[in-house]
Symmetry: C2
Subunit: 311 residues, 2 copies
């Protein structure tokens, strides 16, 4: 298949692009390198340095089977400080991409959304039909993107798979709590500062498991619009996560807490998704959360240069 991966120089996008290239697909990566890195783009793909808003239509003009859309700003805190940036990049980009797909008759989109669209849930595990009440402009901009994908699927006969994922861990991981904790502990193994009260419960998914689900979306019918949760059927507290990371690193830091049920404005204290829908399609994660945290910690220790650049 001929496939466009937007944000293919970023964390998840680059892993997806590498796998698709290895499978023999004809893959084009479109990335503006505003947070991604040129050296993350797999050699098996063609790279276009440009923005989704300005360049998607030109790239798609040669005819594509599907788009995997990862290009987005993805930091909750940054979105609180600068919501316009998030609407411009995340929603403006998605709108431009869908318009380009309509004009070039590109029939399918796989859209990377987020569990942050749910906000703070009324009950867990959260099913795909739960109310969507995002608590940050980041979550709201992804929800808006979903709405657009839905509208284009209905209006123009696209096929659209929306994945709402939990936080992703694994190789090439570049931001999140494991990153922050490993970086802190490398600088000072005796102290660790934790945002919130450490009781927040989160679910995580290993990046290769995430990518497997995307592959399913490329191969499987049905057509039309659908939303799928993507996560593991479990969660860990921040404190449990700290135990795993410090054991791998062999350190015993003194823990201090900033306090409060939420680590930051827009943080959700409990994320735990019901993933029965994607499991019914035959997908199953290979790693449990503990394994994903341990593997990510080891990966960062083996690649310390990643800790010095933030994206």
């Amino acid at each position: 298949m001929k496939l466009l991966v937007t944000g293919g120089a970023g964390y998840i996008g680059s892993v997806v692009a590498a796998l698709l290239g290895a499978q023999g697909h004809d893959v084009v990566v479109l990335d503006d390198l505003s947070t991604g890195h040129r050296d993350a783009v797999p050699p098996s793909t063609r790279f276009v340095h440009g923005t989704v808003r300005e360049d998607a239509a030109t790239v798609l003009a040669s005819g594509f089977d599907a788009v995997l859309h990862f290009a987005a700003k993805s930091l909750v805190g940054e979105s609180m400080a600068n919501p316009s940036l998030y609407w411009g990049h995340n929603l403006g980009g998605t709108l431009a991409l869908l318009e380009a797909m309509r004009i070039t008759k590109t029939p399918k989109i796989i859209f990377s959304s987020t569990a942050a669209t749910y906000g703070e849930p009324e009950s867990v595990p959260i099913t795909e039909s739960a109310p969507t009440r995002p608590t940050s402009p980041y979550g709201a901009s992804k929800l808006a993107g979903e709405g657009l994908v839905s509208a284009y699927c209905t209006g123009y006969g696209f096929s659209g798979w929306v994945f709402r994922f939990v936080s992703i861990l694994g190789e090439r991981y570049t931001h999140g709590h494991v990153f922050d904790f490993v970086r802190q502990l490398r600088a000072d193994p005796a102290n660790l500062r934790i945002l919130g009260d450490g009781k927040q419960r989160k679910s995580y998914l290993y990046v290769q498991d995430c990518v497997d689900a995307m592959m399913l979306a490329l191969e499987e019918r049905p057509h039309g619009y659908q939303v799928l949760n993507l996560g593991t059927d479990e969660y860990v507290s921040v404190e449990e996560s700290v135990s795993l990371i410090t054991r791998v690193m062999g350190v015993k830091p003194r823990l201090s807490y900033t306090g409060g049920a939420r680590g930051w404005v827009g943080d959700s204290p409990f994320i735990f998704l019901d993933c029965a829908k994607i499991r019914a399609l035959g997908w199953m994660p290979r790693l449990r959360i503990a394994g994903a945290i341990e593997r990510t910690t080891k990966y960062l220790l083996d690649n310390p240069s990643l800790l010095d650049r933030r994206s």
Copy 2:
């Protein structure tokens, strides 16, 4: 209270502004007159000719208790043809307004959303927790606006009431099927062309009943973010609506149909909301759908100049 009504020269906004002015509130109307009309702005209010995007911050700087946000593009078909227009006006406007509220510490927003956020429902009546899968950029832009209101309520402690209404009928009504049918029948009482197969089932609400619900939102606690359906606990088919309109007009046209379950791209063939949540707060509609259709038909016949201008 000191209140800002955006879109207060438009259909619902002008009725809300008039009632608030009559109740003695200090009301400012902000409207760019792109679809509203200067003569619809109630004399009991102050009028600012400007856009939400450019002028909300300046207007709110003098200190307001709440904003009632109606300013929006609201035509499904137009949104299919020109999605960017809808994202710019509806989402760009709402973002600018929320930013202005944050900066000026305006504590409350009442946001007019739409049942179109649900798209085509899996079951009826539709509760507020049903999945939101809009089938047009119009519906998607309103859903995105809800997401933003949700994020700002959580992030900055605003209070936000989101109303998802069905189509509104009544005085000052300016577009929709009753408008189209009355206009067609005044031009040619012998023929009526109906979009779709006439079997579409829709729910409607009388404009004064809609306004009553907004008043409740101004007076009632609780704080925080909430979503409320607003409609009648019934629906009518397009054909039933035709019977009511032609009886009031005393005409017996030959009916022709464009065919198909949907009247247009993005049309939802069945809209019927569960309104238990707003009813539990003490609200009840005064008019049933048939009464609202009859009253609107008579109003248009008494004010035929409205039929000549489309907004």
